[in-house]
Amino acid sequence: MEAIKAEIVVVGAGPGGYVAAFYAADKGKKVVLVDRDKRLGGVCLNAGCIPSKALLHATGMIREAEASQARGISFGAPKIQLDKLRAWKDSVLDKLGQGLSGLSQKRGVQVLQGRGHFEDSQNLRVETSEGQKFVHFEKAIIAVGSRPAMPAAFDLGNPRVMTSTEALELEEIPRNLLVVGGGYIGMELGTVYATLGSSVAMVEALSSTLVGIDSDLVRPVMRFAEKAFKEIRLNTKVVKMATSGKQIKVTLAVDGKQIEESYDRVLVSVGRAPNCKDLGLENTKVTLDDKGFVQVNAQRQTADPNIYAIGDVAGGALLAHKASKEAKIAVEAIAGEASSFDGVVIPAVVFTDPEVAWCGLTEVEAKEKGIKVEVARFPWAASGRALTLDRTDGLTKLIIEPETERLLGVGIVGHGAGELIGEGVLAVQMGATARDIAESVHPHPTLSETLMECAEAFYGTSPHTAPRKKS
């Protein structure tokens, strides 16, 4: 069989893969894009960012309506039509998926549906529904992403034990749900199910949830979760799970004691693992690190000069926008342009209630690395806009290099923090100083003012906080 010839083959069509394929095609390369799913978009579109945000938005309305009662507007009890909610969510995914297919076609990117397997450093075998196809490539970009980790002890083959993928399918609203793992996925999906009416319990093996995020940013989320969830058990491990009729019997270890509880469903959200298996990487020179992620350099080139890797599979922050940025860097490097991931600022957002968002240096990281910083904080209780939204559960803070007053990082918790962090990214990436932010006029009354006021607070001149002497 004649092999398909490609200048660049991209394996995996998530937010890393399709961006790489499109950008390479825009640069005039002949590109083949391979994905095992019919709908392009990867985890982000099919079982991650997009469906979870659709559900968080839709269910957030329930909480908004509840809170509204205290402001004199009541709607009565919400009526949930699960089929309709699911259909609406799926329609969003379809729309975006069709959009991607159309965009591939318009660029002349050839899409192959099937599993890709490297035969060597220049040939990829693709197992399609019409049999094997072969792609002879000059360069390959691996963008196969990651999948929810499922420890073998929890893998009962029982659909009542879910990962995020199944939880987003929204098969039913379980009467009670155990969320194993208090990371951002557990927090987000726990919020969705709790709002839909499930009694949610969360267990976390470590001493806090949302580990790694500055504690002052996590606090408002915890205050919400403590109310919305039935309970949050820290320092607690799941020892065993077993099917017990229509329930899952879970054995928990806490303080050296073991307790048994039963839940209608369990969501396992204990991290994500790279999809490196069955790719034929052993037939190439690609090397993996001790956690199984592909090792890459600043250009995202692997140890095999013909092969690049981007996104989750290359490790680092497992975020869609990080994958998309790496896609551009890898394509530019292949095109012989100067490009590097060094110095790129990657923001992160947790879509809890309220949202948490940050970029650049965090306080936790500064402490770990021994970097001397000054931190300016602006609590939202002092923001007029936050009060009118009845959402004063927020905080904006700037992490500042003392000698130069340069912004090294921005952290925000509060309603719409995910949207606000964009300004923070621009400021940090541009090398802005606190003075730059303080002197840029922000519209009133908006939450974006909190950034400006925070910078002013650094100089002790915020009109809405108590005067502070700059040390």
């Binding site: 342009e337 100067a338 290099e401 541009m430 090398g431 802005a432």
Partner: protein, 432 residues
């Protein structure tokens, strides 16, 4: 679309147009090689970044060109309107910076550039210097290290203006008279040799000119001494005979040079001064902790010295494999500039052609070079008995500014010991 002289290699400022492979009006494909540039010791093909028609060729064969200079203008067919729309906005910033960077950008940044070189960004937080992503990108493209650029904006942020000022300062430094380099000694001019018989005139190739320039520089700045001796390689030749066929089976020739390289690397480790460089500007001796050996290769165009890296860490087998392809690529003039740089010591093996002792010239900025002649059977008196042994002529030239004669004798003795007692085990390692 303009095809410009790309950034060639670290420290390479200019090149000579060797061949122009297209004519004005010709239609060219993307990636088609349109001309060849000769730089230092290699010929590099310049491909077209896009398809189109050659509108104008700005250079001719033999021209000296600088990095960033426009070589050929190409009209992009069909995309002309789009190009017009896009170009001014994007190009104005970039091309003015590139124009300013002509010749300047790739100047060795550690060369004395007053004003430009004084600055060094240091962040207590360990963050890169503050600059907009657009400025960062331009710096990347021009190969400029932003930590050397002084930012004029708040918090030391580097603006495009700062980058331009830095490039201008580099340019000034580059334009300042470089002593000894640009002033060749007055040549015997005007003699009409045809008065006495028929003659043929041939232009010196860029490579030949480079070789000439380097030889003059080395010969006039380095006080050369050559230490000569002989090594008994009878046993080593027997080992080669034994292992030659095994190397053939594994797909490569076993020649003498890799063995000499291995012996030299061992001697260099013992006497690190021979693996050093002398910085005339600072008066420092720089000891290198790596052993990259240059190997003189005789090509049709002249002498080229490609470099084999980390000789001490490689097996004879992998050195043989590497050297054989490197020599072949050098003869075909396909080696990259990077492969010609970074040597710490050189070997010139004339044994293949013949020859006895000779006085090799040190390959500056290295401080020593080993010349090997052809081994021959000679009578050797040992324990008052005369034997015939295969004796290899060795000649070590060195820079007497940093190395003394006694050290040279020690080094050569060490080398002879290494060759005479060569460990057979080294020939048994197939790790490649």
């Amino acid at each position: 679309m303009d095809i410009r002289v790309p950034r060639l290699a670290e420290g390479v400022e200019s090149a000579t147009v060797a061949n122009i492979l297209v004519a004005e009006g010709a239609t060219i494909e993307r990636d088609q090689v349109v001309l060849e540039l000769e730089t230092e010791k290699a010929v590099g093909p310049i491909p077209s970044p896009g398809a189109g028609k050659v509108a104008k060729i700005h250079v001719k064969s033999g021209d000296q060109v600088q990095v960033g200079q426009v070589l050929i203008s190409v009209t992009v067919e069909g995309a002309a309107d789009q190009a017009k729309k896009e170009e001014p906005a994007r190009a104005s910033v970039k091309s003015s910076a590139i124009a300013a960077a002509q010749a300047a950008a790739p100047v060795r940044e550690n060369a004395a550039a007053p004003g430009a070189d004084a600055h060094r960004y240091e962040s207590r937080s360990g963050f890169p210097p503050p600059a907009a992503p657009s400025v960062r990108k331009i710096a990347q493209e021009l190969g400029i290290d932003l930590t050397r650029v002084k930012g004029s904006e708040r918090g030391g942020r580097i603006a495009l203006q700062d980058l331009k000022a830095y490039i201008a300062a580099l340019q000034e430094a580059a334009a300042a008279p470089a002593p000894s380099r640009e002033t060749p000694p007055p040549a015997a001019k005007g003699v009409d040799f045809s008065k006495w018989g028929p003659v043929e005139k041939k232009r010196m190739s860029a490579l030949r000119r480079t070789v000439a320039q380097r030889m003059v520089e080395s010969w006039t700045t380095i006080p050369h001494i050559t230490q000569m001796d002989e090594a008994d390689i009878t046993n080593l030749l027997a080992l080669m005979k034994k292992y030659g066929p095994r190397f053939e089976k594994k797909g490569t020739h076993l020649t003498f040079t890799p063995l000499a390289m291995k012996a030299a690397a061992a001697a260099l480790k013992k006497y690190p001064i021979f693996n050093s460089s002398f910085d005339e500007a600072t008066g420092e001796i720089i000891y290198k902790r790596y052993y990259h050996l240059g190997v003189a290769v005789d090509t049709d165009a002249g002498l080229i010295v490609p470099v084999v890296r980390d000789v001490d860490q490689k097996t004879i087998f992998s050195l043989s494999l590497e050297l054989n392809t490197l020599v072949e690529r050098t003869r075909q003039r396909k080696v990259s500039l990077e492969e010609l740089q970074g040597g710490t010591f050189s070997i010139s093996n004339q044994g293949g052609i013949g020859g006895g002792h000779f006085t090799p010239i040190v390959n500056k900025p290295e401080v020593a070079v080993l010349g090997l002649g052809r081994a021959a059977l000679k009578p050797l008196v040992k324990d008052k008995k005369t034997e015939t042994r295969m004796m290899l002529p060795l000649a070590l030239s060195y820079d007497h500014r940093v190395i003394d004669g006694a050290n040279a004798v020690r080094f050569v003795r060490e080398l002879i010991q290494a060759l005479e007692n060569f460990s057979e085990n080294e020939l048994k390692e197939w790790r490649g």
